[in-house]
């Protein structure tokens, strides 16, 4: 963690409300008064049960969804839509099935010479550990490999911020843990600001600098928990488990025992 305390927030979410209009034209509140800031280089995890509006919140912040009140600014500019300088990783890999891994990763790049493009693509394919699979089509990859390709695609344009919507939600437990390690390694190397939505408490404690805990219906910020773990995060260390317990207790009442 770096010392950014005095610095202004890189991403700022203020007074964000969102409603869905239901069939009987009744308003259903999805998000209620969301306020928080993210510093440059910070990793924020948004944790909540499914249906709490955490993905909706992420879509609002990255600009995929603009029908809400309140403001979202990134680097001082209001977000009015997505742009190619912000990376996105979804739960499904969302690779284009008709393009190879290299073509998928390079899709976002514009105005580069062939050689520059090839070098960049190769760099990020290597970074996510997919060397040798440049010419494979997505259907030839396993779930974890496809998600790596998705991460390489999101990173190749050097995004100022990376949004991840339950990126490892569909992976098996082993792949998931190794992907979390990879993501942490990549984040440290690139110092990218990251906003990650998850329902996996362990994942949040492992990755985040701060964890935003959300309550459901309507989705509100219940609590923001700083994760003050330095160096390597051992999932079984006392400090790690202590933070996990704080988050866990936000969701499940432990007072009457197991």
């Amino acid at each position: 963690m770096q010392n950014h305390e005095k610095e202004q927030d890189y991403i700022s979410v203020q007074g964000l409300h969102k409603y869905f209009i239901q069939r009987d034209s009744e308003k259903l509140q999805i998000l209620e008064d969301i306020n928080f800031g993210v510093k440059k280089g910070e990793v924020i995890c948004i944790v909540g049960s499914s249906g709490c509006g955490k993905s909706t919140l992420l879509r609002a912040i990255c600009g995929l969804d603009t029908e809400h009140s309140g403001t979202v600014t990134i680097d001082g500019e209001e977000v009015t839509g997505p742009n190619r300088h912000r990376g996105m990783v979804f739960q499904e890999h969302r690779l284009f099935p008709w393009l190879t891994v290299a073509q998928n990763v390079g899709y976002v790049l514009q105005g580069l010479s062939k050689e520059e493009k090839r070098e960049k693509v190769q760099k990020y394919i290597d970074l996510v550990g997919l060397h040798g699979f440049e010419k494979s089509y997505p259907r030839e990859l396993s779930g974890g490999m496809a998600q790596r390709a998705g991460i390489a695609r999101a990173l190749v344009n050097k995004p100022s911020v990376l949004f991840l919507d339950e990126p490892f939600g569909a992976l098996d437990a082993f792949t998931k843990i190794s992907m979390q390690k990879e993501l942490k390694r990549i984040q440290k190397k690139s110092d990218t600001t990251m906003l990650l939505v998850t329902h996996d408490i362990d994942e949040a404690v492992y990755l985040a600098d701060r964890i935003i805990v959300m309550s459901e219906r309507p989705g509100k910020i219940r609590r923001i928990v700083p994760v003050e773990l330095t160096g390597h995060r051992d999932r079984n260390s006392y400090e790690f488990v202590a933070i996990r317990k704080i988050i866990y207790n936000e969701f499940f009442d432990e007072s009457n025992g197991e």
Binding site: N83, R84, F96, W98, Q110, Y137, R139
Partner: protein, 254 residues
């Protein structure tokens, strides 16, 4: 013989068995005198006719004329069908504007157009090509529209969020996604075009396979009729196979 080779022979046998059976039954019925040669000539007679039609060049001439007509009408149908299909598939306004017209014209068989086509174009080449075009166009158009419409919205979102330039979005995202449907349209469209060329030539022509068949009927030459029919079948099958091959080459990701 290895196991897989034996399997292959099995597949080929299965593939051929119906056609071979029909030919055998035909030969047997012909040689036992169960066929009236005026209505249904024997295979031997048809074989002789093939040889003489090939030798005289008559078959090639008529075949070449028909193939050329099909290719012209089909090419026109394919280009317009794909371009308009993409535009309509992308624009909801254009779709609403054209949907009713397309749905009304589509069920009219191209043969029903023949009287008008003769009046409009006369009995020259352009009328026939127009008819062939009609036969292929709607099939291709509708398949392309469907294909574009079925593009995964999640993938569109990815491409849009990367601020992909319009043409790149069309060529690297929209068209590949619709490619399987486009090929289905191209293949069914081609067989419609073959139906139309024969219909057009049956009515108003002095060349082509349709003419060959119609002319032979008037002289009671059923052997020539059958040779004409077989030729259409074989050429149609070959063209379809070529399209399948192209499809496999283009859609490598499946």
């Amino acid at each position: 013989m290895s196991k897989s080779a034996a399997k292959n022979v099995g597949y080929i046998a299965e593939y051929m068995v119906l056609v071979v059976t029909i030919i055998v039954v035909w030969i047997v019925m012909g040689s036992t005198g169960h066929l009236n040669p005026v209505i249904m000539p024997s295979p031997g007679k048809v074989g002789n006719t093939i040889v003489s039609l090939v030798a005289s060049g008559e078959l090639w001439e008529n075949l070449a004329v028909s193939v050329l007509r099909v290719l012209q009408g089909y090419l026109l149908a394919a280009v317009l069908g794909i371009v308009l299909g993409i535009l309509i598939g992308l624009s909801h306004h254009l779709d609403r504007l054209t949907a009713l017209l397309i749905q009304l014209i589509k069920p009219i068989p191209p043969i029903a157009w023949i009287p008008l086509v003769i009046l409009w174009f006369g009995i020259g080449e352009s009328g026939k090509i127009f008819l062939i075009f009609l036969g292929g166009f709607f099939t291709i158009l509708i398949n392309v529209i469907d294909g574009i419409r079925q593009t995964d919205v999640k993938l569109i979102e990815v491409s849009k969020s990367m601020e992909t330039p319009f043409l790149k979005h069309i060529f690297l995202m929209v068209i590949p996604s619709a490619a399987p449907n486009i090929f289905t349209g191209l293949r069914t469209g081609l067989s419609s075009c073959w139906m139309c060329v024969v219909a057009a030539e049956l009515v108003s022509s002095t060349t082509g396979l349709g003419y060959l068949i119609m002319n032979a009927r008037q002289f009671g030459k059923t052997d020539v009729v059958i040779v004409g029919m077989l030729t259409i079948g074989i050429i149609g099958k070959i063209m379809d196979s070529l399209l399948r091959l192209a499809e496999k080459r283009v859609i490598r990701w499946k």
